[in-house]
Amino acid sequence: MTFLDYAPAPESTAILDLRPEYGLFIDGEWRAGGGEPFASVSPSTERQIAMFASADEGDVDAAVRAARAAFRDVWGPMSGRDRGKYLFRIARILQERARELAVAESLDNGKPIKETRDADVPLVAQWFFHCAGWADKLDWVGLGANPQPHGVAAQVIPWNFPLLMLAWKVAPALAAGNTVVLKPAETTPLTAMLFADVCEQAGLPAGVVNLVTGAGETGAALVRHPDVDKVAFTGSTAVGREIAKALAGTDKRLTLELGGKGANIVFDDAPLDQAIEGIVDGIFFNQGQVCCAGSRLLVQESVHDVVMERLKERMATLRVGDPLDKNTDVGAINSSAQLERITRLVETGIAEGGEAWSAPCELPSEGYWFAPTVVTGVEASSTIAREEIFGPVLSVLTFRTPDEAIAKANNTPYGLSAGIWSDKGSRVLAVADRLRAGVVWTNTFNKFDPASPFGGYKESGYGREGGRQGMQAYLKGGE
C-alpha cells in the first residue's frame, strides 16, 4: 500500500429498510399506478433496488384532485404559523433520518456518500428549516401585504440531486401555502418515497404533498393538467422549452431551472492551491452532473501550463469507485444513457481537435463509470465548449485579457453559473458585474444555501430558488 491506497470503508446499507415495491403517494395513501411499473437500479452495480409504480393520466388527475382538495379545505385555510410548524417538523425528521437518506441517495443515484452525507441531505433539512420560517412572514417577501399562494403546484425534478431538488421545490411551495404534486426523476425515485414517509411521520395532512413516479409522459401529463396553477421544472433546456410552449396562453405560472455551461475563470493572480481545488469541485462534484458545473475552464494564458500540470496531479489523486465508500471522491454516472451521452460528446471533442486526458484510475467492471477527464485545446466554437456534457469532463480554453475572458464566458446561450479566481478584489467585483450568469462564485464554487437565490439568465431558465426571491415564485404577483 502506498500512502494513497485506502482500505475499503463502505457505509453499511443495513440502515435501510426498503420495500420491494413502491406505489404512488396520493392523498396520504399508497396506491398502484395505471402504467407499467419500472425498476430503479443502482448505477454502481446495475442491481435492482426496488420497483416503482408508473402514474398514468388518471393517476396524475387523482393526485391533482387530492392536492386541490387539500389546498381548498386544509392547507389554504391553515395559518402560516401552523404551516411553518409542519415544515419545522419535517426539517427535524430529515435531520434525524439523515444517515438513512444519505445511504439511500448514494445507492439510487450513484453519487459518493461523502456528498450525500455532507452536502445533499444537510442542505435538504436546511431548506425546509429556512422555508418553514417564511410561512408566517409572507408579508415581508416583497409583494405587499397578505400575498396569496397560486394553489396547486406541479413540480418535475431531475435525477442529479433527487432529494435536494425535491426540497428546493416542496419547501417554498408549502411555506407559501400551495399544495404540491411532484414527479421525481425516473432513474432516482427512491428518496422521494422515503420523503413520503417523513411527511407521514410529521403528520402532514393528506393531499398536501402528492408524489407520482413515472417517466417523461407522467411529467408531461402533470404540467399540462388543466387544474394546475403553478409549474416548476428543473431539467434540460429542451424539455423546459416544451413546457414553456405547452403553457403558453394558459394562466399557469412557470419557473424553469435548466441547463448550463458555466465558465470557471482563472486569472494569473489566482490563489492557485484554492483554484485547483475549486476547479476540481466545479466539474467533478457529483460526477459533473450538475447544471451549474464549472464545465468550461477559462485560464489565463500565462498560467495555463502550471494550472494544467497541477490540475492533472490533483485529478490523479481522485478516488473513483463505490459510491457508498466513505473515501470515494467520484462515484458512478447515473445511467447508461447518460454514460453514452458523455462518451459520445468526448469523442466529438477529440474529433474536433481537443486533446483528452483522463485520470489514471481503475474503473469497476460493473456499473456506469467515466474517469475524470480534461480536454485541452478546445475552441470557443467546439461542440464541447457549447453543449452541456453533464459529466466529469472539463473543457479548457485560454484567454489573455479580462475582456476576452468575459466575452468567452458570456459566449453561450446559457447563463446559470460562473466562477472567478483572482486575489485582486476590485478585479473580481468588476468581472462579476459583467458576467451574464445568475450565480457567480468568487474564489469558491458550487456553494448552495436556502438563503441564497439560485437560477439562470438566458436559456438557463427563469425564476429563482432560495431566499426571498425564491419564495416570490410561489406567490401571486411574484413571477
Binding site: 433546456t237 450565480v439 469558491t444 444555501d449 438563503a451 437565490p453 436559456e459 426571491q469
Partner: protein, 313 residues
C-alpha cells in the same frame, strides 16, 4: 378614434398631401401654409423611413388625412434589435443616478412639448382638450415616478443573504437585456410610457411597437427621447402593424424578453409559443395601461447572486 388605412405610396407621393384632406398641421387661426411633419421610425437614435418604403395613412376621427406613418418591416425589426443590443451594455453600465437623471430629463422635455402631444392626441384619439392634457400629464408624471426608481430598485429587489458559511453573499437585480414590447393600444402616449419606462429603469434596451391606431405620439416621443440624453438605440420605435411585427420580435434569438401588454387583440398565444424557443421572459397581455408597480420593473430583471469568499484572519 382615428382610423388608419395602408397605402404603399412612394416617398415622393407621401410628401404631397392629398388635395381632398386638410394638411396635417393646418391651424385655422393662421393663413400661413403649414409645414407638416414626416412621421418616420426611430432606430438607433436616428429617424429612418421603413426600408420597405411602406407607409400607413393615419386619419383623424372624422376620416381626414393626418399623416403617412412609416410602416416597419421585418428588416426594420431586425435593425432595431441590433441597435438595441449594441446600446444596451452602455445604458446598463451607466450609474443608476445617471439613468435616473436621463429619465427625469425625458419628463422635462415632454413637459416643454406637451402642447404638441395634446394636439396629436386630440386629433388621432379624438379626445377633448382636457382629456388629452390629462393623458400627457399622467405620462409625464409616470416618467418622473420611474426616474426616481433607478437608484432604489436594487434595494427593493436585491438582498444580502445570510448563508451558513464564511461568504459575503449578495443578490442584485440586473437588466434582462433587450426587451421587445407590444405597447397598449389605448392611450397612445400613456400606454407607451407605462411599458417603456419600467424596462429602462434597470438598464434594458427596448424595441417597441406602439399603438397601431394612434402611432403619432410614439414617434413624437422618439423625438423627445432623442433630445433627452438617452443614448441612441436604447429605445427603438417601430410603427406599423403589430400582428406583422410581433412574430418577428417574438422569435428573434437576440431578444431576451417579450412584453405582450398590448397584444391582447393579437394571437398572443402563438407569440408566447414563439418566445419559448429561446426561453424569453414573457409578460402576458394586460387590459388597459400596464400597472405602476416595482414588480413590473423587476419582471424585466435577472437576479444575480455573487458569493465572495471571506478569508480566515
Amino acid at each position: 378614434m382615428a382610423t388608419s388605412a395602408e397605402t404603399t405610396s412612394s416617398e415622393s407621393s407621401a410628401a404631397s398631401a392629398p388635395a381632398a384632406s386638410a394638411p396635417a398641421a393646418t391651424r385655422p387661426t393662421s393663413d400661413r401654409l403649414s409645414v407638416p411633419k414626416t412621421y418616420k421610425l426611430f432606430i438607433g437614435g436616428a429617424f429612418p423611413r421603413s426600408e420597405s418604403g411602406r407607409v400607413t395613412e393615419v386619419t383623424d376621427a372624422r376620416g381626414a388625412f393626418v399623416a403617412n406613418v412609416a410602416k416597419a418591416s421585418r428588416k426594420d425589426a431586425r435593425d432595431a434589435v441590433r441597435a438595441a443590443r449594441k446600446a444596451q451594455p452602455g445604458w446598463a453600465g451607466a450609474t443608476a443616478y445617471n439613468r435616473g437623471q436621463v429619465l427625469y430629463r425625458i419628463a422635462e422635455v415632454l413637459e416643454g412639448r406637451s402642447a404638441q402631444f395634446v394636439d396629436e392626441l386630440q386629433r388621432v384619439e379624438g379626445l377633448s382638450a382636457a382629456q388629452a392634457r390629462r393623458q400627457v400629464e399622467d405620462a409625464i408624471d409616470l416618467w418622473v415616478w420611474h426616474a426616481g426608481w433607478t437608484d432604489k430598485i436594487a434595494q427593493i429587489g436585491g438582498s444580502a443573504n445570510p448563508v451558513a458559511g464564511p461568504y459575503f453573499n449578495l443578490s442584485v437585480p440586473e437588466p434582462t437585456g433587450v426587451v421587445a414590447i407590444v405597447a397598449p393600444q389605448q392611450q397612445g402616449l400613456l400606454g407607451l410610457t407605462s411599458v417603456v419606462a419600467p424596462a429602462l429603469v434597470t438598464g434594458n434596451a427596448v424595441v417597441v411597437v406602439p399603438s397601431a391606431a394612434a402611432p403619432l405620439p410614439a414617434i413624437s416621443l422618439g423625438e423627445v427621447l432623442a433630445t433627452s440624453d438617452l443614448p441612441g438605440g436604447v429605445v427603438n420605435v417601430l410603427t406599423g402593424d403589430p400582428a406583422e411585427l410581433a412574430p418577428w420580435l417574438a422569435s428573434h434569438a437576440d431578444v431576451n424578453a417579450l412584453d405582450l401588454s398590448g397584444a391582447g387583440a393579437l394571437d398572443w398565444v402563438e407569440l408566447e409559443q414563439l418566445a419559448a424557443d429561446t426561453l424569453k421572459r414573457v409578460i402576458r397581455p394586460v387590459p388597459g395601461i400596464a400597472p405602476e408597480t416595482p414588480q413590473r420593473i423587476l419582471a424585466l430583471t435577472e437576479t444575480k447572486t455573487v458569493w465572495h469568499t471571506k478569508s480566515r484572519l
